[in-house]
């Protein structure tokens, strides 16, 4: 098992390198002169030339990449010109806020999605199945940014149960109840789509598994239906669902961009949106890179969990 994890970690290294290349290339493909873009169209040619030299843009693309990746290894992602602070500091600070939000959502959607999927499969064609199937359809068709607004209208404006925004103090000063108070609405909103996707898949996986010969064996042994479903069938279904949860992590992190904007959550998504409109491209680059790397690592984790569940994959 340890050897397998080591193998998987090694295999992730080229992917991570690939990520840096793509992120680097995207930023290198900016149309026009980046120095002019940063300095504005009124910049003098001397200033543009100097900034180009400072940014290393007078070198070849390959040299630029080598320098960039060298800096990356030293934890230097450049400096955000709008915030006037190192990109890495800002990105890591924001990313921890996103992790709290996305992590909570991922737990919520996994729990609710798996439960709904199981119930739906076990009560196939019954009322519970029909209601869940309909809710799933509604859930994956609802724009999450709109759902966030509706929830704010209901729970923040009318019922005054939860705040609409105001999560500023993730770093120090905030206690757990306050965090939960602020986290509830955005985390729920963010988990809706992924819950639907996971529920749908779990239902299909359970139905598929319940037809297998080894389920008949379990019944022939005289096991209770609860054991047949929650032990024998669920474990097999989970093997298929875990990688999907890994993929959903990507959608949850992506969806966080909307939800953080709607609820003014101080995470990396809202940072990216601001950075894009202010053309703070180094900040965009750093943010995208860190989130993408985290996503790769999370999928690695999902792979390992899947392998732990299924000895045949080892």
């Amino acid at each position: 098992m340890a050897a397998y994890i080591a193998r998987r970690l090694l295999a992730a290294i080229p992917v991570l390198f690939g990520l840096t290349i793509i992120v680097f290339l995207i930023m290198a493909m900016i149309p026009g002169d980046p120095a002019t873009a940063i300095l504005g169209s009124y910049a003098t040619p001397e200033n543009v030339a100097r900034l180009n030299r400072e940014l290393g843009l007078d070198k070849t693309l390959f040299e630029q990449y080598v320098i960039w990746i060298g800096n990356l290894f030293q934890g230097d992602l450049g400096r955000s010109y709008t915030l006037n602070r190192p990109v890495l500091d800002e990105v890591l600070e924001r990313f921890s806020a996103t992790l709290i939000l996305a992590g909570t959502s991922l737990v919520l959607c996994s729990v609710f999605g798996l439960l709904a999927g199981i119930v739906s499969a076990v009560r196939q064609y019954g009322w519970a199945d029909k209601i869940i199937t309909l809710l799933v359809l509604v859930g994956i068709s609802t724009p999450s940014f709109w759902l966030g607004l509706i929830l704010i209208l209901i729970f923040a404006v009318n019922l005054r149960l939860f705040p609409a925004s105001g999560m500023y103090a993730i770093y120090g000063g905030s206690d757990l109840p306050d965090l939960i108070h602020h986290l509830t609405l955005p985390a729920l909103t963010l988990s809706v789509v992924a819950t639907g996707v996971i529920a749908r898949l779990t239902r299909t996986a359970m139905l598929e598994v319940l037809r297998q010969d080894y389920i008949r064996t379990a019944r022939a042994k005289g096991l209770s239906e609860r054991k047949v479903i929650y032990k024998h069938a669920f474990k097999s279904a989970l093997v298929g669902v875990v990688p999907v949860i890994g993929i959903q992590a990507g959608f949850v992190i992506g969806g966080a961009v909307y939800i953080e904007t709607v609820f003014q959550w101080p995470g990396i998504g809202s940072m990216l949106v601001t950075a894009i409109s202010t053309r703070d491209l180094l900040l965009v680059q750093g943010g995208v890179l860190v989130v993408a790397a985290a996503y790769v690592l999370f999928n690695l984790f999902a792979d390992v969990v899947q392998t732990l569940l299924d000895p045949r994959l080892r």
Binding site: P31, W146, Y214, A220
Partner: protein, 645 residues
Amino acid sequence: MTDTTQTVEMKPKRTSARPGTLALLLNNSLATGGLIVLVAICLIALAAPLLPLADPDVTAPVDRLQPVFSDGHLLGTDHLGRDLLSRLIWGTRVSLAVGLSATVIAAFFGSLLGLVAGYAGGRVDTLIMRGIDMVMAFPYILLALAIVAVLGPGLLNALYAIALVNIPFFARNIRGITLGLSRREFVDAARLSGKSPAQILFLEILPNVLPVIVITMSTTVGWMILETAGLSFLGLGAQPPQADLGSMLGEGRKILFTAPHVSVIPGLMIFALVMSINLFGDGVRDVLDPRLRAGSLTRPVARTAVERGDAPVPPPSGKGGVLDVRDMRTEFEIGGSVYKAVGGVDLTLAAGECLGIVGESGSGKSVTAMSIMGLVPTPPGRIAGGAAYLDGEDLFAVSDRRIRKLRGSAVAYVFQDPLSTLHPLFTVGDQLREAIGTHQPLSAAEVKARAIELLSLVRIPNAKERLSAYPHELSGGMRQRVCIAMALANDAKVLIADEPTTALDVTVQSQILTLMNGLRRDRNAAILFITHDFGVVSAICDRVAVMYAGRIVETGRTNEVLASPQHPYTAKLIECVPVLGEPERRLDAIEGRPPVVNNLPDGCAFADRCGRVRPECRSGEIALVISREDRGVRCLYPLNTEGAA
């Protein structure tokens, strides 16, 4: 026989009028509903220039933030006094156009990449797919954001970004299908006839891939509309004064508390659009991909449904066996026709006895075995009549709780393929301990000791170490021994073995047979042994019952039946067993196929394949004639009668 005539009438209807794609689609009421809403939205959006709408971009500060249903503004106005209804319809137009364009672009480039990668294979495939993997390593929306960051905010740039991040989905799906297709015969034929790769790709493969492209499009278009709306909502897509549904929502958000309708309305429209597309898309997928069609995946319940029309047959008086099956009938209802898999079977099994049930596949022998403990999947199966008595207790009448208690303890099963019948994710020890612990109140240590004892009993070497092995780590013979150990865990009175040796090679087969035979002698268990192989029957069974088309056609002591078969079908089956040293022996399978059990002919079911058939064989009910105590045959003109009499 009313059932038979009904199915005969139904058959041509189903084959001649195979419903078309559209008809199937319209059959699905949800998909139809989605289609209607979608068409309505599209028509209104298309007709926007013709409708008597206010100019969507004309501001009227005096009329700002009018509520819904106000005069002249059905849906009210926004913060600049612009008519919301008009903006909604024009915005829908933009959102639809952008979403559809993004889908078409992604489908075009993604499918092209997938086709080329799948067809070319080798290095081209590796190169393309590694690139695709790399793009997919990004969280989807994040990549779109990065692209917009580079290209700059704008509707067209958002469109490109969303299209680009969706290319991998198409490429992956299409590549998989293309890869399979490019190895098929028709592609080889095209290649040999001198067609160029481009011709093969676009004329031979593309038409076959098209349904997959359509499915992928129909399942992603809703998503792409959502995502482009999302980018506009963030202010990165449509720029004022141009508006799509997302940017309307984004503008409305700023005045959410004072005028919620400005943001609620465009959101509802996005929802209606995406929901209708998803409903319709699911319908399209179900029609084009029958594997996923709802209903094809029906969950079997814990116990076979019992729907006995007539009063259950009373238990045999006097000396009954440990297991008595009386006139058992099991049916499957599939697509409106009833398949009578078991059409009235009688069996008696005494303690310590081994009864073989022999027949071709489809003869109903396995269903007979499964029916006894209610293991036939419902739906579609049901027990339609008869009874099975275990020591005088009607197994079809007892409670679910009782049957669960009897399963694995009084009656245990060994199934055919030990790889698929053992759970792949639990160790052999887990599964064995579970079998013991379910029926015996033992401590964990006692259960473990018993598990080791059982594994040794079925002659598995290193029993203790094997407990932690997973089924895939064992050989086929070892796996079947584990299954037998599980069946023996609770000293069952009746062991039902459904082709336990069919998946094994001959040497292992004889070892398993010797093992089972020994266990029967030692423990006085009764064995019901299902097989298609008379060779196996002669090795282990005291008596044998031959099944054909769901009924027993001949029964008797094994050596008598083998020596002088009375039913022509039995004779043919015995002829199929190869004998060492007789190479000239005819081994051809019996000509023809068994009748389909949803449409059984009158009279003898074997008549069509029988060399001795006479006109009388094709009418009326042919009874199982018991000539002596345990010798019976269902034939009007049996063979070898003088020998048996």
